[in-house]
Symmetry: C2
Subunit: 355 residues, 2 copies
C-alpha cells in the first residue's frame, strides 16, 4: 500500500544531534518499516551511534558532511559556513536532486529556511514561504500558518497561504473540504488589518474551490472552529508561543494544586490514568514538526529540543507529506488560483491579486 | 486611609446590563464601603433592580440616559445615536467633568474607545491610546498592552505604551521598578518587526528610568518573565484571545479526562479542593477589566459577558487606578520621556522618536 519513501535527515541538527535523530528514526521505522533514510552528518560521530540502532543502520545510507550548522548561527553565517557541505544543506539538496522525498531537520529555523529558499526556490507566483504548524484543538487538529517564516505579508500572500494550508489539510487530515479562516481581531472599530480584510474579500468573492469560513479570533484556534487558520508570521508566531506558554502555565498550576494536600495526592493516585491521558493529549511531541510551504520541495522543521519520540513525529509528518504529493497538489491549486485571478475583469481585484 | 472615590458606571452596558452591573457594584461595596457610584442608564429600568441592592442604592445617584449603546453597534453608529445621551457617553463625560474619578463599562469595546477618545482626548504627545490587560502568570500578574485598541503602531508609539504600562504596573502592583519587555518573535532570520527593534533600541539607549528587559516571546507572558509586556494591538489581541482559548481547551480536556472512569471520578472527589483552587486561579473574572491608557482620564472596559463577580473585579481595578492618580503619573512620565527624546542630539534617534 505504501511505496518506500526516502527521507533525508539532518543527523547533526537539534540540541542533541544524532543522539535524538537516530533513535527517532528507529521509532519511525517501527511504525513505517519501508522507509529509507539518507543520514547527513559527520561519519565519525554517526557510525558509533548508528551501531546502537541496527534497524536504522539497515535502512540508511550515511552521507558524510564536514560542517554542522550551530543552533545559534545566524542564517547568513550558516549559509557562508555551510553551503554545499553542511548536513543541513546536503539534506535539503537531496530533495532538490530527487534523491529524497522530504528533508527533516531539528536545526535552527532561520538557517534552515534560508538554505531551503536558496536550494529549493519558492514555487512559481509565490514570493514568501510559510511555516505551517499542526495545532491540537478540541475538535482534533488544525493547521495554523504562517507561524514565523515571513513578517508583514500582503493580501495576495495571505491568500496564497490559504491555498497552501488548504491543500496541506487535505493531505494530512484526509479531508475533502477543509474549512479555512483568516485570523483577525475582535475590536469592532477596526476589524483588523487592511491586508486581512482584503484577503478575506478575495477568498469570499473568488471562485476558488475553498470552503472559506470568514474571520476567526484567537480563541477559535483552540476550539477548532476551522481546519486551517491563516495569519501573518509575526502574529502567528506570537499566537503559537503564547498557547505553548499558557499550556505550560496551567500544567504547573495543576501540579501545584495536586501536591498541596494529602487528600489531593490521594485523589491524584486514583485519577492517575486520567492525568496520564491529559498529559498525552497536551504532549507537544505528538504534534512536533513545522512544515515549510511554498517551496519546490518539502522540508520539515522539528523542535530543536525535542526527544526521540518528538523527532519520530516529525518523520511521520514528513511521510504524510511525501506520500501524498503535497507539492504537486499545492502547485496545481496555486496555478488554478492565479489563473482565476488573472482572468477576473475587475481592475481593483486584479490589482490586489497581482501585487 | 482611602478617600471616597466616585465611580461612573455605564449601567446599561454588557450582555446583561443592570442585572450584572448592580450586583457587581454591591460586591465591590462590600470590599470598599466608601465608594460612591453614578449610575447612568434608563431610570425606569434601573430603579426596580436597584431596589434589590439597598447598599448600592444608598451609595448611588441615578443619572437618566435615554439611549443604550447596543453590543453590536458600530462605533460610528454609537457616536451618532449615543452622543450626549447614551449611558456610555454620559459615564465617560462624568470623568471629563470631574464628577467621577473613573468610568467603568461592559459595553462594546469599539464604541467605548471611540467615545472615550472624543470626550477625554488623547494625552499630549500621545497619538494612539492602548488597552492594557492584567494577565495572570506563574509569578503573579503582568500587564500586557496593547490588546486591541490600535493596529499598526510605530516605534515611538510602542515606547509610549512602555512608559504608560510601566506607570500602571507601579500603580496596580505597587512595584518600584517594574520590568518591561517588548514582545517579539523567535525566528532568528528576521528577529521581528522593524518598529519593535527600533522601540527596543530607544528603550535600551534612552536614559528613561525604565527597567527595560529586552525582547520576550509569546511563552514568556505566561511565565511572568517581565511585569509589563508591550505589543502592537493586532498581535496583542490575538495573543490574549489565544491564551483564553487555550485555557478553556485544557480545562475541557481535564474535565473529560476526570469523568472518564470510576477511578478518576473518585480521584476527583478526593482532590476537589485542589481543583477548586485551580479553577480559582484560572478564573477569568478575577482579572476582568481592560484599562484604556493614553487618554486624559481613566476608562475601564469590563468583559461584556462577565457576571457580578467579574464586574466587581473591574470596579476594584478602577479603584486602584483612581486612588493612585494613574493619569497624573503617566503624564509626568510621558513628559519626561518626550523631553529626554527632544534633547537627544543624534538626528537618527530624534527622527525615530519624533515620527
Amino acid at each position: 500500500m505504501t511505496r518506500g519513501l526516502t527521507i533525508a535527515l539532518d543527523a547533526m541538527g537539534g540540541d542533541n544531534g544524532p543522539g535524538t535523530v537516530l533513535p527517532g528514526a528507529e521509532l519511525a521505522l517501527v511504525r513505517q518499516p519501508d522507509l529509507t533514510f539518507l543520514l547527513f552528518g559527520d561519519e565519525a560521530v554517526l557510525k558509533p551511534v548508528l551501531n546502537e540502532y541496527p534497524r536504522v543502520a539497515a535502512a540508511s545510507e550515511i552521507v558524510h558532511a564536514d560542517v554542522a550548522v550551530a543552533m545559534d548561527d545566524k542564517p547568513s553565517q550558516a549559509l557562508r559556513r555551510g553551503r554545499n557541505k553542511s548536513s543541513m544543506w546536503l539534506s535539503i539538496a537531496a530533495v532538490k536532486e530527487g534523491r529524497a522525498d522530504v528533508a527533516v531537520s531539528a536545526g535552527n529555523t532561520g538557517a534552515l529556511m534560508a538554505m531551503a529558499k536558496v536550494i529549493l526556490k519558492t514555487m512559481p507566483n509565490i514570493d514568501r514561504p510559510a511555516i505551517a504548524a499542526i495545532w491540537p484543538t478540541l475538535r482534533g487538529d488544525s493547521i495554523v500558518l504562517d507561524v514565523g517564516a515571513t513578517i508583514g505579508v500582503n493580501a495576495k500572500q495571505l491568500v496564497d497561504f490559504a491555498v497552501m494550508g488548504e491543500a496541506m489539510a487535505r493531505v494530512v487530515f484526509g479531508l475533502k473540504e477543509p474549512s479555512v479562516g483568516m485570523l483577525n481581531i475582535g475590536v469592532e472599530e477596526v476589524k483588523g488589518l487592511d491586508e486581512v480584510k482584503e484577503a478575506g474579500r478575495i477568498l469570499r468573492e473568488s471562485n476558488l474551490p475553498i470552503k472559506y469560513y470568514g474571520f476567526v479570533e484567537g480563541d477559535d484556534i483552540g476550539k477548532g472552529t476551522v481546519d486551517v487558520v491563516v495569519v501573518e508570521g509575526f502574529s502567528g508566531n506570537i499566537a503559537l508561543k503564547t498557547a505553548e506558554g499558557t499550556a505550560k502555565q496551567i500544567a504547573e498550576f495543576l501540579r501545584n494544586a495536586m501536591s498541596r494536600s494529602l487528600m489531593s495526592r490521594i485523589g491524584y493516585i486514583f485519577a492517575r490514568n486520567a492525568f496520564k491521558m491529559l498529559r498525552e493529549r497536551l504532549d507537544p511531541r505528538k504534534s512536533n514538526g513545522g512544515v515549510f510551504l511554498g517551496l519546490n520541495g518539502i522540508v520539515i522543521k522539528s523542535h530543536g529540543g525535542t526527544d526521540a519520540m518528538g523527532f519520530a513525529s516529525a518523520i511521520d509528518l514528513a511521510v504524510d507529506m511525501g506520500r501524498n504529493g503535497l507539492v504537486a497538489k499545492i502547485a496545481t491549486d496555486l496555478e488554478m488560483f492565479h489563473n482565476a485571478a488573472a482572468s477576473q475583469s475587475d481592475p481593483a481585484e486584479t490589482k490586489a491579486i497581482a501585487l
